[in-house]
C-alpha cells in the first residue's frame, strides 16, 4: 500500500507549490472570482471620479440625491431579479408584476375606499401569487424560466391594462400611505426618499439571508448545479418555488416604491424596468449561469447605470448615447464574467 500512495502525495505537494507561483493576471482573476462585486465596485468608483471631474455639478448633494431616487425602482427590482438569476433562471416579467401590483394597490384603494395599508398588503399578496405562478410553471410544468416569464410578462402587461382601463391614479387620488415611499428626509445635505431607504433595507436583508442562512446557501447550490444539490438532499423544486414567490413579493414592494417615485400609479410607468433590472444584475457581476454573484453587486450595478445616465446627461450628451453606454457596459460586464470563469475552468 505504502508504495502506491507516496507518489500521488508528493506530486500533490508539487502541484500546490506550483499554484503558489501565479502570474499577476491570475491573481487578479482569482480575487475578482472570489469577490464578484469587486470589479463593478471599481467601475463605480472610477465613473464617479471621472464624472465629478467632467462636471462640477455632478458631485453636489442635490445631484447625488437625484441619482439615488432614479436608481431606487430599478435597484429594488434587481433584488428579486438577483435571487432568480442566482438559481440560473431569469425573470422577464419582474417589471410587469411591479406595475400590476402598483395598480392593484392604488386602484383597489381608489375604487373601494380600502385603507392604504390594507391595499398595500393586498398588493404584496398579489405579487406573491404572481411569483407563485412563475414558480409553478418552472417547477411543475418544467418550462425554462425564460419562456415562462416571457409569457407572464405579456400576461401581466395585459392584465394591468385591462384592470386599469387606461386610467392613471395620481396624487390626491392615492389613498393614505401609498405615496409614503416618495417622501424625503435629509441626511446632512443629501435628501433621501423613504423609498431609497426601503430599497437599501431590502438589500441588507437579502445580503444577510444569502450569506448567513441555509436557504441562501441552497439558492446558490441550486443555481450552481441543481443535480448535485438534489443529490445532497436539497429539495430543489421547493427552493426554486420559494425563490419565485419571494421575488414576487419583492416586485410588489418595488411597486409601492414606484408609486412613491412617480407620485401616481400608471399602467404605463416602469416600461423599461424589466430589462433594466437584468442590466443592473449583470453589470453587478452576477453570473447568468447561476450560482455566482451577490445582491451587493446588483446594487452597485444599478448605481453604475444611474451614474452613467446622470453623468452623461450633465455632460450634455443625448439620451441615445446613454443607452449606447449602458449597452457597452453590459457587454463588458459579461465579458469580464466569462474571463473570470475561464480562470477556474
Amino acid at each position: 500500500m505504502s508504495g502506491t500512495t507516496t507518489a500521488p502525495e508528493s506530486s500533490y505537494d508539487a502541484a500546490e507549490e506550483f499554484l503558489e507561483h501565479r502570474t499577476t493576471a491570475q491573481r487578479v482573476q482569482t480575487t475578482l472570482h472570489r469577490y464578484p462585486w469587486l470589479s463593478p465596485a471599481i467601475v463605480l468608483v472610477l465613473s464617479v471620479i471621472v464624472f465629478s471631474l467632467l462636471n462640477s455639478r455632478f458631485a453636489t448633494p442635490n445631484n447625488l440625491s437625484l441619482i439615488t431616487q432614479q436608481v431606487a425602482v430599478v435597484g429594488a427590482l434587481a433584488v428579486g431579479q438577483t435571487l432568480i438569476i442566482l438559481t440560473a433562471g431569469i425573470d422577464l416579467s419582474c417589471g410587469a408584476i411591479m406595475v400590476f401590483t402598483s395598480m392593484v394597490m392604488a386602484k383597489t384603494a381608489f375604487d373601494s375606499g380600502m385603507p392604504g395599508p390594507l391595499a398595500i398588503l393586498l398588493g404584496l399578496l398579489v405579487g406573491a401569487a404572481a411569483g407563485a405562478a412563475n414558480g409553478l410553471l418552472v417547477t411543475k410544468v418544467r418550462l425554462p424560466p425564460f419562456i415562462v416569464t416571457l409569457g407572464t410578462l405579456n400576461i401581466f402587461v395585459a392584465l394591468t391594462l385591462l384592470y386599469a382601463t387606461g386610467r392613471t391614479i395620481r396624487d390626491a387620488e392615492l389613498a393614505t400611505g401609498l405615496a409614503w415611499l416618495g417622501e424625503t428626509f435629509s441626511i446632512g445635505e443629501v435628501r433621501v426618499t423613504t423609498g431609497v431607504l426601503v430599497m437599501l433595507l431590502m438589500y441588507a436583508l437579502f445580503a444577510f439571508v444569502l450569506k448567513y442562512t441555509a436557504w441562501g446557501r441552497h439558492v446558490y447550490a441550486v443555481g450552481d448545479d441543481a443535480e448535485a444539490a438534489r443529490l445532497a438532499g436539497i429539495r430543489v423544486q421547493r427552493v426554486l418555488m420559494s425563490v419565485y414567490v419571494t421575488a414576487g413579493v419583492l416586485y410588489a414592494l418595488t411597486g409601492w416604491i414606484l408609486i412613491g417615485r412617480v407620485n401616481a400609479a400608471s399602467p404605463n410607468s416602469g416600461i423599461d424596468a424589466n430589462l433594466d433590472s437584468i442590466t443592473a444584475v449583470v453589470i453587478g457581476g452576477t453570473s447568468l449561469f447561476g450560482g455566482r454573484g451577490t445582491v451587493l453587486g446588483s446594487l452597485i450595478g444599478a448605481l453604475i447605470v444611474g451614474v452613467f445616465r446622470n453623468g452623461l446627461t450633465l455632460a450634455g450628451l443625448d439620451v441615445y448615447y446613454q443607452t449606447l453606454a449602458v449597452g457597452i457596459l453590459v457587454i463588458l460586464a459579461v465579458s469580464v464574467d466569462q474571463w473570470i470563469r475561464r480562470a477556474r475552468a
Partner: protein, 281 residues
C-alpha cells in the same frame, strides 16, 4: 496482499448490516434485476462488479433509494425498510457518493460538507435570525477531513471549484463518511478521475473501512476492486453470478465470471459466514 486484507477476509460473520433479498426491478418489459440477493457485513468493503447492463447500477439505485424495487425486500440490521427517495435512505444512515462529482462548485469545502444539513448558531441568532454557524462548520469540516487523512486540504473556506477532481471527490466521500451511520455506497467514485487521484480516493475508502464503516463499492476497475475489496459481488445479466474473495480468485477469472465464460465452483463462493475460513487455501 497485506495483513489488513487477511484479517478482513474473515469479516463475513454475524448479521448483515444491509441485506437485499430477491430484488426484482423491471422497466416495462425489461428485467433489469432478476431476484438479486446481496449481503453487506459489518466493517467490510463489498465490491459490486459487472458488465454494462448487468444491473449493478439498478441494484445500487434500489439500495440508495433512487429507485424503488418492483419486488423483494431490503433489510437494515435485519429489519425491513422501504426507500422511496434518496432522502429516505439517508435518514436510515445510508450515504451515497456518485461518480458525477456531486458537489456545488462555488460553495466552499465546509459548505459542501454540510450542504443540506447546515448547522445553525446557538441562541437567538440561530433560532430567530436563522444564522448559520460558519466557524463551527469549518472547524467540524477540518476535523472530519483530517480524521480521514485528507491533509492536503487545509483551508475549509476554499471554493470547491478551485480543487482538482480527486480533491472534489474526496470532499464528497468525506461528506458521506461524516454523516452515514450504517453504510456508505460509492458508485464508481473513481470513474471521472485520473490515476493519481483514484489512488487518493482508494486510500480514503481504506481509512473508512478502518473506522469500521461498511462500504459498497461499485466499480469497473478490476485492479482497484482487487486492491480494496474484502468480497466481490459479481453481477451478470440481472442476477448475482457469484460472490468471491479477491484472494481466492484471479482477476482474469473474475472477469470470466462477469462475462459468463466461467462458473464459480460452490466452494469458492464466500456468500456466508461459514465459508470464511475455508477460502484461505
Amino acid at each position: 496482499m497485506t495483513a489488513t486484507n487477511q484479517e478482513s477476509t474473515a469479516t463475513p460473520t454475524g448479521q448483515p448490516v444491509m441485506q437485499a433479498v430477491g430484488i426484482v426491478k423491471t422497466y416495462g418489459h425489461v428485467v433489469a434485476l432478476d431476484a438479486v440477493d446481496l449481503e453487506l457485513y459489518p466493517g467490510e468493503v463489498l465490491a459490486v462488479i459487472g458488465d454494462n447492463g448487468a444491473g449493478k447500477s439498478t441494484l445500487i439505485k434500489c439500495l440508495s433509494g433512487a429507485e424503488a424495487p418492483s419486488q423483494g425486500q431490503i433489510l437494515l440490521d435485519g429489519k425491513p425498510v422501504h426507500f422511496r427517495t434518496p432522502l429516505d435512505a439517508r435518514r436510515h444512515g445510508i450515504e451515497t457518493v456518485y461518480q458525477t462529482l456531486a458537489v456545488a462548485p462555488s460553495l466552499d469545502i465546509a459548505g459542501n460538507l454540510f450542504l443540506g444539513r447546515e448547522e445553525r448558531r446557538a441562541g437567538p441568532l440561530g433560532s430567530v435570525l436563522r444564522m448559520l454557524d460558519g466557524t463551527g462548520m469549518r472547524k467540524h469540516a477540518k476535523e472530519q477531513m483530517s480524521s480521514l487523512g485528507i491533509g492536503t486540504l487545509q483551508n475549509m473556506g476554499q471554493a470547491v471549484e478551485s480543487l482538482s477532481g480527486g480533491q472534489r471527490q474526496a470532499v464528497a466521500v468525506a461528506r458521506a463518511a461524516a454523516f452515514s451511520s450504517k453504510v456508505i455506497i460509492l458508485d464508481e467514485p473513481t470513474a471521472a478521475l485520473g490515476v493519481k487521484e483514484s489512488g487518493q480516493v482508494l486510500k480514503l475508502i481504506q481509512s473508512i473501512r478502518e473506522r469500521g464503516m461498511p462500504v459498497i463499492l461499485i466499480s469497473h476497475n478490476m485492479p482497484q476492486v482487487f486492491e480494496v475489496a474484502d468480497r466481490i459481488h459479481i453481477q451478470r445479466l440481472g442476477k448475482r453470478a457469484a460472490v468471491v474473495s479477491p484472494k481466492t480468485i484471479s482477476m482474469s477469472d473474475a472477469v470470466a465470471v462477469m462475462t459468463g465464460a466461467l462458473k464459480v465452483a460452490p466452494e469458492q463462493e464466500v456468500v456466508t459466514a461459514k465459508s470464511g475460513p475455508a477460502e484461505r487455501t
